[in-house]
Structures are given as structure tokens and as C-alpha cells.
């Protein structure tokens, strides 16, 4: 009984982390797919932040959605997992900083995070979503690091 209880705990914990993987990975696959189908709009959304020249914004509009999709798949399949986690964490950090910078400069920005669905998100909704995803990604990073440490 006691041994069964001890065996159940890490297993339950693994299942829960796996669910977080699937949710976060799924979010990025969905967000990437929405933007991938409409790169022209995503280029406009990037341009609204007035941080990058238009040409670089266009290049990112073609590249970032696919990067999100591949990293999301990496999380779902647990293949190239740590690479996917690192890239997604960096991406969300950059998105969040850019959003705050735009707000500070008084820009009326459109959140391009989830294509047309997120067009009218308020600044707090935008930031709260980014921070929630960032928290989940950081938790996954720490969990992966702890698991590696335990394995060695």
C-alpha cells in the first residue's frame, strides 16, 4: 500500500506536467497556425509596434508563426523539447516587453497573438495572457531541469 502510494505520486505528477505540455504546445500550434494563414495581417500587427523596420517585420511575419508551430509540436511530442521550451520562453518574453514598450509609448496596438480573435484584446488581457503562458513555460523549464538533475 505504502509502496503503491509512493509510486502513484511521481506518476500523477508526470501526467499533470504532460497535460501542461500539451496545453502550452497546443496554444502555440493554434496561435502559429492562425498567423501562418494571414501573414499580411501579422506583418501589419508587428509594424504597429513601431520597433522594427517594415522589411524585418515582413520577414518575421513569415518566420515566427512556423517557429511557434514547430516549437509547439516539440512540446507535444517531447522531441527537441528543451530547445522548443527555450525558444518559446524567449518569444513570449520578447512579445511581453514589446507590448509594454508600445503601451508606454502610447501606441494603439493590435494584439496579433491569436490572429483576428485577439484583435480587440485590451492591454491588461494581452499582458495577463502573456504572463500566464510565460509562467507555464518557466514552470516547464524548471520541471525539465529538476528531472534532468534527478536523472544524473
Amino acid at each position: 500500500m505504502t509502496s503503491a502510494t509512493f509510486n502513484l505520486k511521481p506518476q500523477t505528477s508526470n501526467i499533470l506536467w504532460r497535460i501542461v505540455d500539451l496545453i502550452v504546445g497546443g496554444i502555440f500550434i493554434y496561435a502559429g497556425a492562425l498567423k501562418m494563414f494571414d501573414p499580411v495581417r501579422f506583418a501589419s500587427d508587428i509594424d504597429n509596434y513601431k520597433i522594427l523596420p517594415w522589411t524585418i517585420g515582413v520577414a518575421l511575419a513569415f518566420y515566427v508563426p512556423w517557429l511557434e508551430i514547430f516549437c509547439g509540436i516539440a512540446l507535444v511530442l517531447r522531441f527537441l523539447y528543451r530547445g522548443g521550451l527555450s525558444i518559446l520562453t524567449a518569444l513570449v518574453l520578447v512579445f511581453t516587453l514589446a507590448t509594454v514598450a508600445a503601451k508606454v509609448r502610447g501606441l494603439d496596438i493590435t494584439c496579433g497573438c491569436f490572429g483576428h480573435a485577439s484583435q480587440h484584446w485590451s492591454f491588461p488581457a494581452h499582458i495577463a495572457t502573456n504572463l500566464a503562458i510565460l509562467a507555464a513555460l518557466l514552470a516547464l523549464c524548471f520541471q525539465a531541469a529538476a528531472k534532468r538533475k534527478a536523472a544524473h
Binding site: P39, V40, R41, D45, W54, A59, F62, I69, D108, Q119
Partner: protein, 141 residues
């Protein structure tokens, strides 16, 4: 350990590059790499005013902003109620008219999107985006 992480990151970054380039090639004629709006599709307040009755004004801002104030004679046409508002705009439009779309300011995106949809979906020609939008129009009122 760290090199494995760098390696994974580089593999994912490179993988995403392949379809990204493919998509850029596919969309090459649908987006300009030089400017968000080609100069030929922009119009200044002075120029649009000079067009007089041959111009038809489109307000791409949300309904509340339009209700508060708008360019005299402008039609409200925003993406939130695109399907409901488009028919009444098209009823007033004629091929000889120049369409001037505006949103709130220089940084807003709505006028570009509405102009793009008018060209792509409604197949209209002579669609222009107002430089500086409503703010600029107010300044030069």
C-alpha cells in the same frame, strides 16, 4: 549539456526557416517588402479634400467612435460589423469614386485592413488610406 540545448534550438530555428521561406515565395505578390502601404495607396488630407464629391469617405473606427464624430458624409465600415455595413457602403459607391479610408491616427491598423479587404474581397479600385487618419483630419479641419 548546454551544447545539446543550443543544438536543439538551432535545429528548430532552421526547421521553421524552410516553410517560412516557402510561404514568403507564395505570398510574394500579396505583400510589399519595402513599405507597409505603397505610396500610391496613401492620400493626404489636403489631397483627399481636393477630390471633393468624387471621394467617398470610409470610417474604419469602431461604431462608438463613429457615433461620437466622423468626417461629414463618411460611411462607417469596420471589421467588427463588416458584413452588415458593407452593403450600405456599396450602395453608395460607384466606379468613378475614389475611396478614402481612415482610422484613428497614424499608428492605427484598421484603415489598412479595411482598405485591403475592399480591394481584395469587394474588388474595388481607387482605394486609399488617409495619412494620419482622423487625428490628422481634425488638425486640418
Amino acid at each position: 549539456m548546454k551544447s545539446a540545448l543550443v543544438c536543439q534550438t538551432l535545429v528548430l530555428a532552421a526547421l521553421a526557416l524552410v516553410p517560412g521561406i516557402g510561404e514568403a515565395l507564395y505570398f510574394h505578390d500579396k505583400i510589399s517588402w519595402r513599405s507597409s502601404i505603397p505610396a500610391s495607396e496613401m492620400v493626404s488630407v489636403e489631397q483627399a479634400r481636393a477630390w471633393g464629391d468624387s471621394a467617398i469617405w470610409v470610417d474604419a473606427r469602431p461604431d462608438e467612435d463613429f457615433a461620437h464624430d466622423h468626417v461629414p458624409g463618411a460611411f462607417s465600415l469596420n471589421e467588427d460589423r463588416w458584413n452588415a455595413l458593407l452593403p450600405q457602403f456599396l450602395a453608395a459607391w460607384s466606379p468613378s469614386k475614389k475611396v478614402v479610408v481612415y482610422c484613428s491616427s497614424l499608428n492605427c491598423n484598421a484603415s489598412r485592413e479595411v482598405a485591403r479587404r475592399l480591394r481584395d474581397e469587394a474588388q474595388l479600385k481607387n482605394v486609399f488610406v488617409l495619412e494620419g487618419g482622423w487625428e490628422e483630419w481634425l488638425k486640418k479641419k
